[in-house]
Symmetry: C2
Subunit: 126 residues, 2 copies
DNA sequence: ATCAAAGTACGACCGTCGTCAAACTTTGAT
DNA sequence: ATCAAAGTTTGACGACGGTCGTACTTTGAT
């Protein structure tokens, strides 16, 4: 049956700052949020670049959903993820934008991918 | 000796988003930040309203300091705490403001002090 | 009907973190 | 010199959470 295929999503009024922070404090989950924030549309669970196993990823998506940060729905066998951007911004103005902006900046300087190479292509940092 | 009385403070350039979020995700520490944000000046460790023991408070202040969120200095036997507001806003624009704003709103609706009687009288329970 | 793909659910493991009490240090007042 | 106030340090404890592998479910294609 497809009963539990419609997971529970918290109402926007029941979203708490504590849960939102608990969600985005994890680097994997924050990466998911950042990827969704910059994407043009929704993304399937398998469409993210994540350094964890599938079962762990499921755990993270569930945490994000229960915190109220994402909305999940099925499309075939794929589970799509949508960022609840406007709703979050309604209850916590500026929070998501500030975190995503900070996160993007952090990833620039955090993953120095061994510039051993001679690649001059787009080495622009700044 | 007063050597270790000058605790280490990270340079603003070494402040990371991960540490900042790890710091403010804890409700006690976030409360400290919020109180500092709304204060007119610096506050001694003992000047905060915190629901934990002194040793635990020390631990939280240290975490905040090492994350780069506060600056600590002595004034007699009291250790003063200053929010590194401008510096944080420089590296993570809007983050502190968004979190503090959200936190204030949360505390409003988080401690419903038994609104049983819609009385205008402050039902002080403490 | 069969099979592969995409996720989920369930335990288990283990490190981290928040918590406290007790002992200690430094400072300032008497 | 003595004492109190303000924090710190240390060690211990317990809970929570991120991780994985395995088994399972649902869907869509053959």
């Amino acid at each position: 049956m497809e009963a539990d295929r419609i997971p529970h999503h918290p109402d926007v009024r029941t979203i708490t700052l504590q849960r939102v922070l608990d969600a985005i404090v994890d680097p994997v989950r924050r990466s998911i949020v950042t990827q969704l924030y910059g994407a043009s549309g929704d993304i399937a669970c398998g469409g993210f670049d994540l350094p964890v196993s599938k079962s762990t990823a499921t755990h993270h998506f569930r945490t994000l959903r229960e915190a109220g940060l994402i909305r999940q729905y099925y499309a075939g066998t794929s589970r799509m993820n949508a960022l609840r951007r406007d709703e979050i911004d309604e209850v916590f103005p500026g929070l998501l934008a500030a975190v995503v902006t900070a996160d993007r900046g952090s990833r620039e300087t955090a993953n120095p991918p061994e510039p051993t190479g001679q690649g001059l292509s787009a080495a622009g940092s700044g």
